[in-house]
Symmetry: C2
Amino acid sequence: MDRLELVKSTIKGYFDDLGNSVFDAFRDDFSFGKMLRSKLIFAIAPDSAYNIKLCAIIELIHFASLLHDDVIDDSTLRRGKISINAKYGNKNAIMLGDILYSKAFYEISTIDSNLSKIVADSVLKLSLGELEDVELSKSFNIDENKYLKMVEYKTAALIEASAECAGILKGDHSDKYKIYGNALGIAFQIIDDILDVSYDDSMIGKNSFSDLKEGKATLPYIYLYNKMNTKDRDNLLSLFKKSLSSEEIAWIKQKMQEYDILHEVKKVVDEYASKAISVLGSEDTKLEMILKDMLDREF
Amino acid sequence: MDRLELVKSTIKGYFDDLGNSVFDAFRDDFSFGKMLRSKLIFAIAPDSAYNIKLCAIIELIHFASLLHDDVIDDSTLRRGKISINAKYGNKNAIMLGDILYSKAFYEISTIDSNLSKIVADSVLKLSLGELEDVELSKSFNIDENKYLKMVEYKTAALIEASAECAGILKGDHSDKYKIYGNALGIAFQIIDDILDVSYDDSMIGKNSFSDLKEGKATLPYIYLYNKMNTKDRDNLLSLFKKSLSSEEIAWIKQKMQEYDILHEVKKVVDEYASKAISVLGSEDTKLEMILKDMLDREF
């Protein structure tokens, strides 16, 4: 069985441990997604005794956080399927999230207290990041630093923790993998932000230009706002949290082109990518590849 | 400063650590309650280096669980004040709960991995217990064993973990305090169930006879149902999840008296109390006192 399959069967074993008949209903709705964090862990610590278990724990935490995020964001779709909150109600999604979080904390505490500390800290950060995301979404945020800090917490923290924990499993207690994971995680989110304003509806699974509608003034919007004149700014602000018409989308796209916004935002991605690369050694070709694959999502 | 005050200031310090401006709004709404779990920890390990910290962590977890419970149960009151979900909305209550849970897991992982394991396991149990409570409340549950198992998870698990962790801090790794805490926790909940059907509205802060309205067929109701004839059973079932009139309350009270239900239920409390006492030694007078004080709540 390949390693990712072993992670999947470990997670299924955790579900069995929970042994609650109520829980059975949810079991088939657990979607594994792309398992990026597991791939990262295997790239760092392919031969560790605990890498499968670490992957299962991190995937469980990621899934728990998505369960609560979808309740908080009123999302009805997740990974192309109807979300748990939409299917079973918000309350079940909250309870299931709590169960999976605590199962994950229990399992990590059976490995090593260092790993427990790192993982708990990352969940704390992603929870604070979610709160900050909701807060920033109340009005059109134009503060780049606040935005990047939120992304660092909400998206990068768990990726960073995955890399750092994998490093420890490998016996490398330096900051190397932590720094790599942090930069990778931030770059990952910014590329997501770029994708949202890059594609036509026909070209991408999720609705494009959905971020602005959801109140998320991402980096492209922050840069755009800061370059615009007062009249255009007012127009942009008037589109915040609205369902956009194709004319309005066309206008945003045209303005993004006019100010070369995506080029500017990609420079930020490149900075984080360079930071991630800078800590890697010649033995870390797999991590270079993961970064490269991620950057290629842009095009 | 007395010990409970030190616990409070430790919790406030944790809030400061969170350092999120959004979080400030909630700070004043944190209500410490009776701190029963802290009192239990101090009764077991009064001189331990980490007892204050353990108390702060357990109180944080207890508060986080109440935040999520109140969302799930649509409660608008908590400890005599408007609940966080009612004041700030369900989403904020969910996020705040997640933040406090993960802060607590982080802090416990800085003490000892044994304690991390016990605490995470108890949070897993209380989350599963909450799910089971919701499930049992969907119809009038008449299964005593299911009810007691749910109570053991939802209410007793964290009390049990508090006692067991305090024992470990004291250097006693036996099952003694765990067994005591488990029995104390179950007895505690059953007394709560008795109180709900014992008092007049004028005599108690919370609404009496509220359990049945909320779909909670507690031990007194389970015993009553099992003793009744078919006609009375049908009448009792017709009151499930209804707002009760004073005539309906009087009817339930009269039936409880007729079948001597509270006497039967108190015998169950006494069994758990005896179990708790049976593991204590002559040095555990404070734990006997805690149990006795709790039993006295009945009258």
